[in-house]
């Protein structure tokens, strides 16, 4: 289990981390969210000793993280970086070697991941000759190739085409299923919602929301209700208590209502009011939770 506890870090006058605390278990995939400049990258870099927090601790299975632990971690930094002139396969083998793998294991693992990302026939191409998307794939392979126990990926989906996103998602799900702890940051919240059961939202250097996405949604004080009915929709809405907000375009109405509002009766009334084109009752999206958390 990775645990960041009460991390503080200032860069001059800028407070990057202000008591940041969160954890992720093996087999868990944590979406690490936050607006730009909220401290995501600093928190990730502190796991790898690339920044030294002024106070707080970073532990893996309860042990303060040192180089021995880091060799079992995989990192994809926000600023992508590979040696441009190295061949893709040589680069991956080199990274395996500095993580302590034997040469033959390193070569087979490098080829395995290149094959996985459809780059096997380009294994001997220099990194700089690959397209942007393919360089991204090699970068991800670089984080995975030494078979780490923990994956920390800073914005792994940025700049990927839809196929790339699918491959990346598949790999992350598989890695978590294999029992690895996976943490990734992203601004694509619908994607995070699809992939992660757990999220942590950081704002101004501290975690403001953390937990199971479903639980967080259930705990939200609001619900969304979407209606499209041939009939007297205005009267119908007025019959509903605790309506916080109404947006309408044509016949389509989107309502924000209190979570406590019992809508079982309302469903019956809606059906009676006219032909029902669309009816949806749902908890707030992760985007709503995010907006609420960082406001």
């Amino acid at each position: 289990m990775l645990r960041l506890e009460n991390l503080h870090k200032n860069f001059g006058n800028i407070r990057a981390l202000d008591g940041c605390t969160f954890e992720v278990e093996r087999g868990q995939m944590l979406g690490f969210l936050g607006p730009n400049g909220s401290g995501k990258t600093t928190a990730m870099r502190s796991v790898f000793g690339l920044v030294r927090p002024e106070s707080g601790s970073v532990t893996w299975d309860g042990v303060p993280i040192g180089m021995e632990q880091r060799l079992r971690f995989g990192y994809m930094p926000e600023q992508r970086g590979l040696y441009p002139k190295m061949k893709a396969v040589d680069h991956l083998v080199y990274l395996c070697r500095i993580h302590g793998m034997a040469q033959s294991d390193a070569v087979s693992s490098a080829d395995l991941w290149l094959e996985r990302f459809g780059l096997l026939e380009r294994r001997n191409d220099r990194v700089e000759s690959l397209s942007h998307g393919n360089q991204q794939r090699v970068q991800l392979a670089a984080a995975l190739v030494h078979n780490p126990d923990l994956l920390l990926l800073d914005e792994p989906f940025s700049g990927l085409d839809p196929m790339g996103v699918d491959t990346m998602s598949g790999v992350l799900i598989e890695q978590a299923a294999e029992g690895k702890a996976v943490v990734f940051s992203s601004h694509q919240l619908d994607l995070v919602e699809d992939l992660c059961e757990e999220v942590a939202i950081i704002n101004q250097g501290r975690i403001v929301v953390e937990g199971n996405v479903r639980t967080l949604k259930d705990a939200s004080p609001i619900r969304h209700l979407e209606l499209d009915i041939d009939g007297d929709i205005e009267a119908l809405i007025e019959s509903l208590p605790d309506v916080l907000q109404v947006q309408s375009s044509g016949g389509f109405h989107s309502l924000t209502i209190g979570a406590e509002t019992d809508i079982r009766e309302f469903v019956g009334r809606a059906q009676a009011a006219g032909r029902l084109r669309h009816f949806a009752y749902k908890p707030p999206s992760l985007t709503d939770l995010f907006r609420e958390a960082v406001r």
Binding site: F48, L71, I98
Partner: protein
């Protein structure tokens, strides 16, 4: 340690097969072979001159000139100079002979020499004829004493004074100077060349951001140390290849292989290792302060200046190997790698000076591993423009 070795191996593999390395190796080999063969092609064999004679009293001068030219020839070798003579009956005919290139010079009555033109710095033939004429004149003066031209020449080409040099070195042992000079140039070029590789290598890792991936699993000293080891080994390999090719060239070309003292060679390699390590640490720290390869040379300017100062002190040491400049340069770790080998080659250094210099240089390396490593660790992860020295120093402590 194995990680450091992996870093070194990567440098060896990737740089060893890079075009830049192959190019510089080939250029070095061509230069070395050129230095061996070109003087032989141009300077070997016999210099042949044809001298026109007009009037009387010319032949003794030509004979004496030939005597001067061949005074240093080893018995059994080809004569280094041959002078053929052509007689002219009139000045008119002699001038025509000069114009047509039939003769290189014309001696007139033993008192005048006529040439087509005098080149910059004069010519060998003119100075030989001048020496010859002087010897003939001398002989005339001392004819009563029965001295012959041959004796005069022997006297003039001998070393009548024994030279004692206070600041070391033995006169006449010019091969020492050649080795000292060649060794100095080699050290200077090699240390700066490979130091620059270090500089641009570090900056490149920073500018491509690959350093962030690397430092997630390597300590800064492992990355820095591995680079120094890898590039240093590559430099030694290039040096060894160059020396081997040079010796092969010498023996294939039928040259006498110079008496290269194995100790002198070991001394050169020893100081390359020390000097390269000092400068690689300095260049590595400088490279970590620049964010773009274009800025790296600016960041390293102070180091390059220091190296130039070292070179000048070494030239002073060539002149006066036990002089004040040489003594001071011996004790400063950034100039010692250039100065000490020169003094060692000229056998003008006391053992305690050598030992103290090595100790001081090693101490400087230890200090630089600490300080340079700290600047490197602080600088290499700070992006955006040129990182200030002070910020890098502080940030490593944070």
């Amino acid at each position: 340690m194995s990680q450091l070795w992996q870093v070194a191996m990567r440098e060896l593999r990737e740089r060893g097969r890079s075009k830049a390395f192959l190019f510089s190796s080939v250029i070095t080999l061509i230069l070395v072979l050129g230095m061996i063969f070109i003087p032989r092609v141009f300077g070997s064999g016999t210099e042949e001159y044809t001298v026109g004679l007009l009037g009387e009293g010319n032949q003794p001068i030509v004979t004496a000139a030939l005597g001067f030219a061949t005074a240093d020839d080893e018995p059994g070798d080809l004569a280094s100079v041959e002078i053929t003579t052509v007689r002219f009956e009139s000045r008119q005919a002699a001038v025509e002979g000069l114009d047509s290139g039939e003769v290189d010079a014309v001696l007139v009555d033993g008192t005048e020499v006529v040439v087509e033109s005098v080149g910059w710095g004069g010519s060998r033939l003119l100075s030989l004829l001048g020496q010859g004429a002087a010897a003939v004149a001398l002989e005339r003066l001392i004819a009563e004493e029965g001295q012959a031209v041959a004796d005069v020449i022997e006297l003039l080409t001998s070393d009548p004074l024994t030279t004692t040099a206070l600041s070391g070195g033995e006169v006449g042992d010019s091969s020492r100077y050649v080795i000292a000079y060649a060794g100095l140039i080699f050290l200077y070029v090699a240390i700066l060349l490979y130091g620059t590789w270090m500089l641009t290598g570090v900056t490149e890792e920073k500018s491509t951001r690959v350093v962030e991936v690397l430092l997630s699993s390597l300590r800064p000293w492992q990355l820095l140390g591995g680079k120094i080891l890898g590039i240093g080994l590559l430099g030694l390999a290039q040096f060894a290849t160059t020396v081997l090719v040079a010796f092969a060239g010498l023996s294939l070309g039928g040259f006498e292989i110079p008496d290269l003292d194995p100790l002198a060679l070991a001394n050169l390699i020893f100081w390359f290792i020390l000097g390269f390590t000092v400068y690689a640490l300095l260049f590595g720290a400088a490279g970590s302060l620049a964010s773009r390869v274009e800025d790296a040379n600016n960041a390293a300017l102070p180091m390059s200046m220091i190296a130039v100062v070292g070179l000048f002190i070494s030239f002073a040491a060539l002149d006066s190997p036990a002089g004040m400049a040489a003594r001071i340069g011996t004790m400063i770790p950034i100039t010692a790698p250039f100065v000490v080998p020169v003094r060692v080659s000229l056998e003008a250094i006391a053992w305690w000076e050598f030992a103290l210099s090595v100790i001081l240089t090693l101490a400087a390396i230890i200090g630089l591993v600490w300080a340079g490593g700290r600047i490197y660790a602080g600088g290499v992860l700070r992006y955006g423009g040129k990182v200030r020295f002070r910020d890098a120093w502080r940030s490593a402590a944070e």
